[in-house]
Symmetry: C2
Subunit: 187 residues, 2 copies
Amino acid sequence: MSPRDAQATKARILRTAVVEFAQHGYSGGRIERIARDGETNVRMIYAYFGNKDGLFDAALTSAIQSMAAAVPPRPEDLPAWAGDLFDYHQREPAALRINMWAQLERPQAASEPLESYLAKISALADVGAPPLTVVDLLVLIYAMSQAWYLTPVGLLKADGSDPEDPERIKAHRQAVVAAVTRFAGPS
Amino acid sequence: MSPRDAQATKARILRTAVVEFAQHGYSGGRIERIARDGETNVRMIYAYFGNKDGLFDAALTSAIQSMAAAVPPRPEDLPAWAGDLFDYHQREPAALRINMWAQLERPQAASEPLESYLAKISALADVGAPPLTVVDLLVLIYAMSQAWYLTPVGLLKADGSDPEDPERIKAHRQAVVAAVTRFAGPS
């Protein structure tokens, strides 16, 4: 295989692994299914990623990096960035799902500061101020942008509204942006 | 079995099921282990809860209700309530874990407005104001209070601090309370 083919195969395996692990998690994810859907074989996957741990961790890192690349921090407008993140989760639920599985099943994954984490800290260095450090700000803005997708449907509809209604989702997006404006908006 | 014994057995099964499902999730949770740890048998569990779905849903509901009872909404001081929730998650991680598993594996669980959801909506009826409805407020405050526990460790330590350090955790708790004060505090 040429180096270029090898790169393409590796990238295809990773994309397939993100889909598989986002759907079924670490324990439930199946290497055989990734091999089949990625049009390769199990031996090739092990050659590239070592074992299931290595493949899961690479898939998680890849999902985190894709998200960081698609919606980079906007230090000059954090509320707008929160809106971008909200839209990203709606468009690409895999990133959030694989991260949740990792927290539950494999918290040691992504436990080292990745390049993309360090880049975010550095991009926002000027907006952190006591008692909110840059990490606190990041943690809270991420949480607010993904909150809708982590809330039991029974709570979302407890006021009688329909959480599947696009207008309701749009209104929640506005609420997220408004809340971030109030606590971290341009002063 | 007397009615009192039956109630005690059922409560013991539920407590054991919360522990098992919080640890292993819906797919990974084992009825046999719940029977053993709950000092009962599989036949009794099915008699009370029907099947694994019924037991999981009852365990999730029980965890949600325990949390609602332990840290009821404080409409007069939402920032303090966010701090209470943060402390609860640190003390009782099972509630958050079983909710995450449910979102990933069984989103149809707790999809009906439970009594405890309706009670919260009603308790906070006076604090919602456009563009943040009561549900938006609840969703965001819950998210902020649990954000620390859902963030990859690699991000938490990307600024060089130690996320296991009790002082760091206390500082994050202060950041949560400060952020909620800014966006939903007493005006």
